[in-house]
Amino acid sequence: MRKLALSVALLGLMASPALACINDSVTVPHERQFKSSYIDQPAEQPAPATSPGEEGSFLGPLAAASTGGLLLFGALVVGVVRSGRRP
């Protein structure tokens, strides 16, 4: 009977659409235990997992280089023209 009551209570807790950030005397010990259950485990020698996708593009560098080259060429032209006009 007690088991049944506990089960019902447990189901009630599970099903209650509730959320909570309660603060009581067991909160901090629970958090510590939670952390130690996972973070303090020795790191397992990992096996290869999936590499992430690639999102690089050469468009940006190409645009930057072209703009820079044109500006540099323009600067030389402007320099030559301006020096030619000087008395």
Binding site: L19, A49, P52, P61, G79
Partner: protein, 481 residues
């Protein structure tokens, strides 16, 4: 004429050289400098580095375990016994008299109120916490002293509307807003408490308030603003734009795992974590304090914490975990989260039609995952899910029965050895961490990302400053000088 030409060209050359230097420096500072080649070896994803130095970092096993209830929860017997003891101690403390109240008094009030909430005495829990807050204020207490009062009162208040959703009910919305106000006050007092969990509690309350006005949002966004129709790209826990020195920063996560005192130098690795949430028009449709995509581990840890240490399973938690895991390539965990969310659909909203559509979304997501290459057949996965969930729920039941038996035998839950006999009973309930938090950076991947930025940016800098040098005003030469 020639002297003038040489002068101008020299000036252009100097400006261009400075520009090239600026371009190179910018390349380095922007993390675009090509990284040195290394022999490929498995690396931890950057989310293993916590957001704050003493904070908690995420492991995918945590998500797997909450979905399958693989953690311990106190039962009603525990809280009833604690309530009994708290009342006795409070009565004794009240008779002491004297100025003010000892810290223990406030702790006991928190314990009693939480215990009342946990055994279903919601109104009494709210009343007690309101009385505590009023008494604290009347005694001139402020700041951190009020933290737990605001956090608990805010939490208790919102539980009512969450337990019994009455769409459009203005009183419920008012209660939710009051609860939200207290949660925000608690966050203001102690922003880093509970691994930032309260920040996500506030976000789910804001989501709930929005649902009261427009329940259809339930089928558009999850509680962190992931758009439910998204195709979920990219599908990795590592953001796909890690280039050059950015890669080196991400690799520092490995140093952190071997030396956690290196957090200061490793924290930049977090820049490589895939971001989730606040997608599409979330900010326009939900009045939320969460406005931009955030590293996926932040809401995930918040949800895991609320599920484990708060009120337990909830369809909003489960579907959000599914959407997040989908976006970071954890397909099996995502499938299980959607399975759990579908099974909890009746608690998503009172309207059966909306429940069915919510369930349908979960099933659609599962079908999407099942199309992935090498995905475990659905039936096999469902059997494993059921076995794992049964294991978790059986463990919680056994834990609570153990508590009840021990209390009936006269033992105190405050006894540090109270659970010793239970712990001897079997393997730990938490899953092994495994290798899900690691990836293999195959050389092709890094090669593709090593775009030759330094030369183009040096050229751009040289061009821009070279042009400035060419246009620089020159002093007219004075004849005779």
């Amino acid at each position: 004429m020639i002297a003038s030409l040489i002068l101008v060209l020299s000036r252009i050359a100097v400006f261009a050289a400075v520009g090239a230097g600026v371009g190179l420096l910018g390349t380095y500072l922007a993390g675009l400098w090509p990284a040195p080649r290394r022999a490929p070896a498995p690396l931890p994803f950057p989310h293993v580095v916590p957001k704050s130095q003493d904070g908690m970092s995420l492991r995918f096993a945590m998500v797997h375990d909450v979905i399958h209830e693989r953690f311990e929860r106190h039962g009603p017997a525990f809280y009833q016994e604690r309530n009994r003891r708290a009342r006795l101690e409070l009565a004794a403390l009240k008779t002491l008299g004297g100025e003010g109240r000892p810290p223990r008094y406030w702790e006991l009030l928190d314990d009693l109120a939480v215990g009342l909430e946990m055994v279903g005495e919601h109104d009494e829990a709210v009343r007690l916490m309101r009385a505590k807050l009023e008494e604290q204020k009347s005694l001139g207490l402020s700041g951190r002293d009020l933290y737990s009062s605001h956090a608990n009162l805010g939490t208790f208040l919102i539980l009512g509307p969450f337990r019994k959703v009455r769409p459009g009910n203005e009183d419920d919305k008012k209660v939710l807003r009051e609860g939200l106000e207290h949660i925000h006050k608690a966050i203001e007092i102690n922003p880093d408490s509970h691994f930032g969990r309260e920040i996500w509690q506030a976000v789910i309350i804001e989501y709930m308030i929005a649902l009261y006005d427009d329940p259809e949002l339930l089928l558009k966004y999850d509680m962190v603003g992931n758009w439910l129709d998204a195709l979920a790209e990219p599908r990795s826990a590592l953001a796909p734009v890690i280039r050059g020195t950015g890669r080196v920063r991400v690799e520092a996560a490995g140093d952190y795992l071997s030396r956690d005192e290196s957090w200061g130098s490793a924290k930049d690795a977090r820049g490589g974590i895939t971001k989730v949430g606040a997608e599409r028009n979330w900010a326009g449709e939900v009045q939320s304090s969460h406005l931009w995509p955030v590293p996926f581990d932040e809401p995930t840890l918040g949800i895991v914490g609320m599920w484990r240490l708060g009120g337990g399973a909830h369809p909003y938690f489960a579907v959000a975990l599914g959407e997040i895991m989908l976006r970071v390539g954890q397909d099996h965990i995502a499938w299980c989260a959607f399975e759990r969310a579908a099974r909890l659909a009746e608690f998503a909203w009172p309207d059966p039609g909306l429940q069915e559509r919510f369930r349908q979304h979960c099933r659609d997501r599962q079908r999407l995952l099942e199309k992935q290459p090498d995905f475990t057949p659905a039936e096999k996965l469902r059997q494993a899910f059921e076995a794992d969930l049964k294991f978790g729920q059986d463990h919680q039941r056994a834990y609570q029965e153990y508590e009840a038996d021990q209390i009936q035998a006269g033992r105190s839950p405050d006894d540090p050895h109270f659970y010793d006999d239970f712990s001897k009973g079997g393997p730990p309930v938490a899953s092994p961490v495994g290798n899900a938090d690691w990836y293999d950076p195959n050389p092709d991947y890094w090669e593709k990302l090593t775009i030759p930025w330094p030369v183009p940016l040096a050229m751009l800098g040289a061009g821009v400053l070279g042009m400035i040098g060419a246009l620089w005003p020159t002093r007219p030469t004075t004849p005779g000088k």
